[in-house]
């Protein structure tokens, strides 16, 4: 396992842990608000809190989902290629995906900066929003790291740098969520 692999695993393991906590928090906050409402004491701003928790839950799980090949993809055509061609295709696809998510990470980060500079506040609770946007950018960064690690792995395979070891175990593992 190379450095990038280790880094992406450690980073995404941490992010997944937080995502799990936020998911449970989402459920509890929502149920709690319903209970308070039943007793005639609705909590203002719950919708905003739930939406932010959901944003971080999803963003922090992006990398973990990629590690487990959970983003829906179509194996049908590439599986017909030779191993080497497949590794070349994987290399190009993971490079393009990594570049895309580096761009996304950077621009979501910049978007957070804009919200910070302009002092943008949420509609109901009138609190700052930008920290949540930074967190979403961090989640996208987690995915970019996995994709970079995938790129390095497929380079090694395409150019046979690891003597045929470490095949990508993605085929057939991809799952739909329907």
């Amino acid at each position: 396992m190379n450095f990038l692999d280790r880094l992406s695993l450690i980073l995404n393991r941490g992010l997944t842990f937080v995502a799990g906590l936020f998911l449970i928090a989402m459920m509890l906050v929502t149920v709690g608000e319903m209970v308070f409402r039943m007793f005639g004491k609705p909590m203002a701003g719950t919708i905003e809190i739930i939406a932010w928790l959901a944003a971080v839950t999803t963003a922090f799980a992006l990398g973990y989902t990629q590690i487990h090949q959970g983003h829906v993809a179509i194996d049908l055509f590439v599986n017909r290629f030779s191993r080497r061609t497949r590794a070349m295709v994987d290399m190009l696809v993971s490079l393009a995906s990594a570049v895309l998510f580096i761009i996304i990470t950077w621009h979501v980060f910049e978007h957070a900066g804009v919200l910070k500079r302009t002092g943008s506040l949420s509609e109901t609770m009138k609190v700052i929003v930008y920290p949540w946007v930074y967190l979403v950018s961090l989640g996208c960064g987690g995915l970019a790291t996995v994709l970079l690690a995938d790129f390095v792995k497929s380079c090694r395979q395409a150019f046979n740098l690891d003597g045929g070891r470490g095949q990508r175990g993605s085929a057939g593992e991809r799952k739909g969520g329907g």
Binding site: M27, A51, T57, V72, F77, V133, G178
Partner: protein, 433 residues
């Protein structure tokens, strides 16, 4: 290059990326980003990208997805299925092919609290397959009934696919849930009839189980009570206007968690597994929707979907013929491409077309949900079949596809009924909401 040509090239580029195994969501974001950069400007495309990633991820409307997935996962890991299976067995186990019918009936019950076809197949398969093997059921019938029963997870509400379509097309989630109740029940009855017909013709396929008296039948209903309570809480609460869809998902997952804890079935490991599975599925689904929104924006700017719709309307072809073509595209596409990915990619193109042709959006949604769900059991990428195959490695995958194929007739009958009697989907929402 005209905007329409750019959109067609954008679509071809999207399909190329997908064929090269780029995840569907990444491909839609990339193609949409490049398309927006070409048609508007690079700065605008970057702005659309950053604001949509944040905007979709932090959308309260989308927060419904992780909570409904969590409800299904807690139900999956909390032993609800075994009690449902036992209850269903007492009622239909005596019939020819009783265990296969039990599988389908309990799948329908589980579908009422879980919106995923893969979770329904997996949870039912772990209980039903060993039972059917013990009673020497034909492997094609046993595996086929589990795989096809799993598809009810998407058709019977709550359904993750219906939520995704509702979010993408800005329809009411509760309206779609209520509209799919009758088609889901009709499909269940058609599956049961298929098992009955197969086993009456050839009793060796699935011998009937022992007789049970009415007292046993009534007592067994307690096993289905918790499922019923959860279903009524979620769908009833939504219908009565007590909850928003997100709150219904939270109440449902909290209820399923409590059932798991009270019954002592939800261990800490299972709890962790349910949570990690939920965040994995949610990240996949939310990124898919985000990709569809970014790509959809590009298509909207190009105006291709609207011009395509206008062009099809100007052809003066009967709208049913157009619908048939669309359904065939979904059917064939669903055979080769993951059903959910294909659905999300095609909604921005076909939904405006269906609107322009005057189809009721609720009815159209139920129809395409049925058609795309068939993709979960058709070769070569039917996900349910692979799940069942994983649970019974000694049975050849071709046998499972063979077992499922006969049930596809039930799907076709249900679709025809829905096309000729749209009230099947529309009557309940119109009279209740």
């Amino acid at each position: 290059m005209s905007p329409n040509t750019a959109a067609i090239l954008g679509l071809l580029f999207l399909f190329l990326l997908m064929a090269l195994r780029m995840p569907v969501s990444f491909a839609m974001i990339l193609a949409g980003f490049l398309g927006n950069a070409y048609l508007i400007s690079t700065d605008a495309a970057i702005y659309v990208l950053a604001t949509n990633i944040w905007g979709q991820f932090s959308s309260y409307g989308l927060s419904v997805i992780p909570l409904f997935v969590l409800m299904g996962q807690f139900a999956f890991h909390s032993g609800i299925t075994e009690r449902l299976y036992n209850a269903a067995y007492k009622w239909v186990g005596r019939l020819p092919g009783g265990l296969a019918s039990t599988t389908i009936l309990s799948s329908a019950g589980f579908a009422a609290i879980c919106g995923s076809n893969s979770a329904t197949s997996a949870t039912m398969g772990t209980i039903a397959l060993p039972e059917m093997k013990r009673y020497n059921y034909d492997p094609a019938l046993s595996t086929g009934s589990v795989a096809i029963g799993g598809t009810l997870g998407v058709v019977i509400p709550p359904s993750v696919v219906l939520i995704i379509i509702a979010v993408q097309t800005k329809q009411s989630i509760i309206q779609l849930f209520i509209a799919s109740i009758v088609p889901g029940l009709v499909l269940t009855v058609l599956f049961l009839a298929t098992v009955f017909w197969l086993c009456v013709r050839n009793p060796d396929l699935g011998p009937p189980g022992p007789k049970t008296d009415m007292r046993e039948k009534l007592v067994s209903l307690s096993g289905a009570a918790e499922t019923m309570i959860l279903f009524l809480l979620v769908i009833g609460g939504l219908y009565a206007g007590w909850f928003t869809p997100t709150e219904a998902g939270a109440a449902g997952s909290f209820g399923a968690l409590l059932i798991g804890l009270v019954r002592g079935k939800l261990s800490f490991q299972r709890f962790i597994r349910a949570v990690t599975e939920t965040i994995r599925i949610s990240a996949m689904v939310v990124l898919l929707i985000t990709g569809a929104v970014i790509f959809g924006r590009f298509l909207t700017v190009s105006r291709l979907p609207f011009e395509l719709a206008d062009w099809v309307v100007s052809l003066n072809v009967p709208r049913e013929a157009v619908l048939l073509v669309v359904l065939i595209i979904y059917l064939v596409g669903g055979c080769f491409v993951d059903a959910l990915g294909f659905l999300v990619v095609t909604i921005p193109i076909f939904f405006p077309l269906a609107n322009a042709l005057g189809f009721d959006p609720v009815w159209y949604t139920v129809v395409i949900t049925l058609v795309t769900t068939m993709g979960a059991v058709t070769p070569p990428v039917g996900v349910n079949v692979y799940i069942v195959s994983g649970l019974s490695p000694d049975i050849h995958i071709g046998t499972i596809f063979r077992g499922v194929s006969i049930f596809l007739v039930a799907y076709v009958i249900c679709l025809l009924l829905l096309i000729f009697f749209p009230g099947m989907a529309l009557y309940l929402p119109k009279s209740l909401l």
